[in-house]
């Protein structure tokens, strides 16, 4: 790991100022960033540790939405009675991430800022039509995920919270890559105020909505309807863990299982 300057601000405003001044990187739990720095894939000159900012933590119900602070860990989301009651599928997503040690440190904000092509939370954020709150604006999920490891965030912008509207029904099904536990393919299906939304992770260079499955489920919200949709394999990931054709097949299968689980 290369050397860096270290700062631990106490407020969002101070953290944003530190990022703007230094051109450095925010640090949440370190569950992706520290690994990347060890491999020298990331080489920030300054680390701005967000862990001292109390306002970034916590889970609350606000009207018809659950608002989760960016620094809230996967373990906290998984065990939250508020989340389990209102959006059990979201608690299940958090519980299915990596392993216990990773869930004890990894955070919601870090996961979606990182936007790993096989990460679980991006699928939940996109399918639930969540809104990402930052220090300066609110970004709807459809505008947030831009590409592989790429988001709408500016370099000196910090996610403060994510607001998840409570869906009518929702479920997430992941076919985990057995060594990393990341999604070989994961599909989050939700019936929301804005219609049926289906988000796919792991299959392509970044999380995306499966519009053909959404159309089929809008007509008939059944496992069979999802399974009948043929997903083209072009542009899907093709690697030692699974061919593009295999992943294409898994998308419909995982979608149908998610519909069955959503009930």
């Amino acid at each position: 790991m290369y050397a860096f300057e270290y700062q631990r601000p106490k407020s969002v405003a101070d953290a944003v100022a530190a990022l703007a001044k230094s051109g450095g990187k925010a640090l949440a739990g370190g569950q992706s960033l520290v690994g990347a720095m060890k491999l020298r894939l990331a080489n920030p000159g300054t680390i701005v540790d967000l862990s001292g900012i109390a306002e970034l933590r916590g889970i609350k119900k606000e009207g018809d939405a659950i608002v989760i602070g960016a620094l809230t860990t996967h373990a906290e989301v998984a065990s939250s009675s508020v989340v389990k009651q209102s959006i059990p599928a979201l608690a299940a997503v958090a519980e299915g991430i990596g392993d216990r040690q990773v869930r004890n440190r990894g955070t919601l904000g870090g996961s979606i800022a990182n936007n790993d092509p096989a990460a679980d939370y991006p699928a939940a954020v996109l399918a639930l039509g969540a809104t990402v709150h930052t220090n300066k604006r609110k970004i709807i999920a459809d505008d947030f995920f831009k590409g592989m490891y790429e988001t709408a965030l500016a370099a000196d912008e910090i996610i403060t919270a994510v607001s998840f509207p409570v869906p009518k029904k929702a479920a997430y099904m992941k076919f985990p890559q057995p060594a990393s536990r990341f999604a070989l393919v994961g599909v989050f299906v939700a019936q929301t105020g804005g219609g049926t939304r289906v988000a796919v992770t792991g299959a392509a260079p970044h999380v995306h909505r499966a519009s053909t499955i959404e159309a089929a489920l809008s007509k008939s919200f059944t496992a069979d309807a999802a399974k009948a949709v043929k997903i083209p394999a072009d542009h899907l990931n093709n690697d030692i863990h699974g061919s593009a054709a295999y992943r294409a097949h898994l998308v419909s299968v995982m979608a149908s299982r998610a519909v069955a689980a959503a009930g």
């Binding site: 790991m1 290369y2 050397a3 860096f4 300057e5 270290y6 640090l27 739990g29 370190g30 569950q31 520290v34 690994g35 720095m37 060890k38 680390i47 540790d49 862990s51 373990a75 990596g98 392993d99 216990r100 040690q101 990773v102 004890n104 440190r105 060594a179 990393s180 536990r181």
Partner: protein, 156 residues
């Protein structure tokens, strides 16, 4: 850049000056000479480096020492009290829950985190909760048995 650390390790106050890029596991092993915390993979996969940070199991190779500043750390060396093994250590010994022993410190600390949250964990829960700890020797059977026995002993 050098940073000052002030934390509690196995109930003792520790103050130190370290390079900010020092990993928690390297701080524990090199600065504190507590070599019971192992490095198996150094990539966050195997769990051999697991320690408790404020009671929660964490892979010490995947956080910086400075991220644990102000925290209470427990390593395998901190479990035995007055020369008596912790009930979870005793259960691993009793059930032959180890062969080479390389994974064992991490297994024991993960087991303690697990029992805190699931005092009555059944076999399926134990196996699911051990996702982050790899063992290349035992085939896990006796580890699972040891954790069930250790959990019962911890319930008292």
């Amino acid at each position: 850049m050098s940073v000052s650390l002030s934390l509690t390790v196995n109930d003792e106050a520790v103050n130190a000056q370290v390079d900010a890029r020092t990993l928690l596991v390297d701080f524990i092993r090199n600065n504190l000479a507590l070599t019971g915390t192992h490095v198996g993979c150094d990539t966050g996969q195997c769990g051999a480096c697991t320690v408790l940070v404020d009671g929660n199991a964490v892979k010490a190779c995947t956080i910086l020492a400075v991220q644990a500043n102000g925290s209470k750390i427990t390593t395998i060396e901190g479990l035995a009290k007055n020369g008596e093994l912790h009930p979870m250590q005793a259960a691993f010994k009793d059930c032959h829950g180890l062969q080479c022993g390389f994974c064992t410190p991490g297994m024991v600390l993960s087991a303690i985190d697990l029992v805190q949250r699931h005092p009555d964990a059944d076999e399926a829960t134990i196996r699911a909760e051990l996702e982050g700890n790899l063992c290349r020797c035992t085939g896990y059977q006796n580890i699972v048995k040891a954790i069930a026995q250790g959990a019962a002993a911890m319930r008292g």
